[in-house]
């Protein structure tokens, strides 16, 4: 069966001000049950979703940032982060949660899921997708 399509979830909103970020993650987790090739992109304020050190205890709402670390188990191994969006916000990769996956084809070696890409590289990645889902 060559029904496998490339799905990309494009995340452009900060995590707690609106419900976009959490909804996106829920759809990603549900969608992972279907055998498709899924990747995520974080750009604009979306990069704030995967920053380290989030603590929502005083808000009384769920901190879902640890859930991104489970995505490797769900077969999602490509998480694209736009360099320009990080730079504009004074962030570097070191400010992001180090998302990893275990490569089954390489003796379960732990590898980085995060791919830092420039806008011009992201253009190419977007172009390769079959379906783009925006949040």
């Amino acid at each position: 069966m060559s029904d496998i399509k490339k799905f990309m979830y494009v995340n452009r909103r900060a995590p707690y001000g609106t419900v976009y970020a959490w909804e996106s993650l829920e759809v990603v987790l549900i969608g992972a049950a279907f055998d498709q090739q899924v990747s995520l992109a974080f750009l604009d304020d979306g990069v704030y979703q995967i920053t380290k050190g989030q603590d929502t205890t005083q808000l009384g709402i769920k901190n879902f940032s640890p859930t991104f670390s489970a995505l490797g188990d769900y077969g999602i191994t490509n998480i694209f982060v736009e360099k320009e969006s990080l730079e504009k916000r004074g962030l570097t990769v070191a400010d992001l949660i180090p998302l990893k996956y275990e490569d089954e084809n390489d003796n379960y070696a732990e590898k980085d899921s995060i791919k830092l890409v420039s806008a011009s590289d992201l253009v190419k990645v977007l172009e390769e997708q079959d379906v783009l889902l925006n949040f």
């Binding site: 987790l29 640890p66 769900y74």
Partner: protein, 110 residues
């Protein structure tokens, strides 16, 4: 339908999942299992404890496929398969074990 655990009344949703996840204690699992006519063994507890640790780390109940794979990695291939897990939890390892562990229903589980 609330359940009585050690003199406390705990709220559950229409499918029997705890409404407030922080109210969970080990006795909850036993009482829920009894309602399903199920007796919890050490093997059940291995899975329940695994799920609680998974939730603590990732804040989600894993999908069955993910659970099966992760159990296999942690407890060995003889346990990391759906036959073994369905024998322990005939209503579905995702649904039933998560319920006993005080977790929400796995995301995407219907």
């Amino acid at each position: 339908m609330p359940i009585e655990v050690n003199g406390k009344t705990l709220e559950t949703d229409e499918e029997g999942y705890l409404s407030n996840l922080t109210e969970w204690e080990p006795a909850v699992a036993g009482i829920m299992a009894k309602l399903d006519n199920c007796e919890l063994t050490d093997s059940h507890w291995e899975v329940i404890n695994f799920l609680r640790e998974y939730y603590e780390e990732y804040q989600i109940a894993p999908a069955v496929r993910v659970l099966t794979k992760a159990i296999g990695k942690k407890l060995g291939p003889d346990k990391g398969n759906s036959k073994y897990l369905y024998e322990l939890f005939p209503y579905g390892p995702g649904k039933q074990a998560c319920k006993y562990a005080g977790l929400p229903k796995p995301t995407g589980c219907v």
